[in-house]
Symmetry: C2
Subunit: 238 residues, 2 copies
Amino acid sequence: MDIINCINQVSIDCVIFGYENHQLKVLISKSRFKGDFYSLPSGFIFQNEDIEDAAQRVVRERTGIENIYLKHFNVFGKVGRKRQEFLDKLIALNYVNQEEEYQNSDRYKWFINRFISIGYYSLVDINSVIPQTSELDESIGWYNIHDVPELIMDYNQVLQDAYHCLKSDINELSNIYNLLPEQFTMKEIQDIYETILEKTFIRTNFQKKILELDVLERLEKKFTGAKNKAPYLYRVKK
Amino acid sequence: MDIINCINQVSIDCVIFGYENHQLKVLISKSRFKGDFYSLPSGFIFQNEDIEDAAQRVVRERTGIENIYLKHFNVFGKVGRKRQEFLDKLIALNYVNQEEEYQNSDRYKWFINRFISIGYYSLVDINSVIPQTSELDESIGWYNIHDVPELIMDYNQVLQDAYHCLKSDINELSNIYNLLPEQFTMKEIQDIYETILEKTFIRTNFQKKILELDVLERLEKKFTGAKNKAPYLYRVKK
DNA sequence: GCAAAAGTGTTCATTGTACACCCATGC
DNA sequence: GCATGGGTGTACAATGAACACTTTTGC
């Protein structure tokens, strides 16, 4: 990462939601440095790169997914938003007795300025992703939305903000269909809605509501081997 | 404006909507340089300034209004977003035969890089504002939303984007009440809704809808001298 | 009294919610 | 046949749209 080629004091922060088995999770990385430094995936914007492409790149680097639907949900730009505090703590824990050397070096001067975060969120299928660490990560993994550790900076707040927007955008997101295989049942959609919105729907009414959106076409039935009526399969209309 | 104290390559762009007499207008400035360079009010972010405060400052400098409700509606960050083209044209028209001097000077190098616009919109009462030019403006004025001249950069697109958000946020905007005096009639609110949304409402149903929002309290009647029943006055609940 | 415009109420259609009922499936 | 879960239809409530009717105001 050569900061010279990047826009200064601006960060792209991605809240990557993942769905699996009735659970909504978020992708969070842990720094390879001592101390529990958890963070949202983020990155900088190259000078020759659209900001949306930068966000796509961040998602791709961590998940391998290309061209996912991304939504800008907010910007964060208070004066006090600095990595200073977090970095001071990191250096104190990892470079004992070398603090002064680091504080006087130009090496991370650019890094401690206040900076603006441009927030994007996306929603991916956990089963189609093998999370990738960056060179600064010890690990990266999925955390249930209600079981997220304390993150550095104000990222817990950023995350909650993204979650709020995801909920209110769920109907506009024809892209929850990115979570599903080519063909899927109504129950699978309902599970996703119920998980994200954290409420239950009456099965029969939910079906009507979704079909009224007029974005799905009904295919043949799906015989699962279960001893009950086979549900129809659907796919997104072309 | 000392760019050293500002965040580089980031601009705050404000779409300041104004309402007056059944018309929705937008505040647009014209550059004092030769050539028809129209622009949205914009500014930079000081290093010691929240981005929201920077937007408040832009609005205050142009309208005198303090602490108006501001809404972030989008960011614009394509690689091609540069002032280069606009500036080249400006210099060609205003500094004839000095183009080379300008192109080689460091004086506006920082100014021609690609930059990111953080967009905010607000809604103000035209009658309570006397628009103020900046040092670079020849004039500044209100233009009907459907009669906006060609703006520099991609600002026509930015404006349309803001207008779209204003429409869909109108109910969330308890702040259309900033347009109105302390006390107002139901008809005044209806006029604003109809102007912004560009559709008409049935008077009696509109009244029910607004009162159901449960944000207004009814006061005494307003006797205007007109020979008809006096309408009630309302004000926003505390 | 009368025209103008505001307040209230009523009707009808649309949408949403809850649930009863029937149907296919595999054992 | 029977338990399981999916599909269809129905009854009722809530909301929204259109409009009739009544009330107030100043001349």
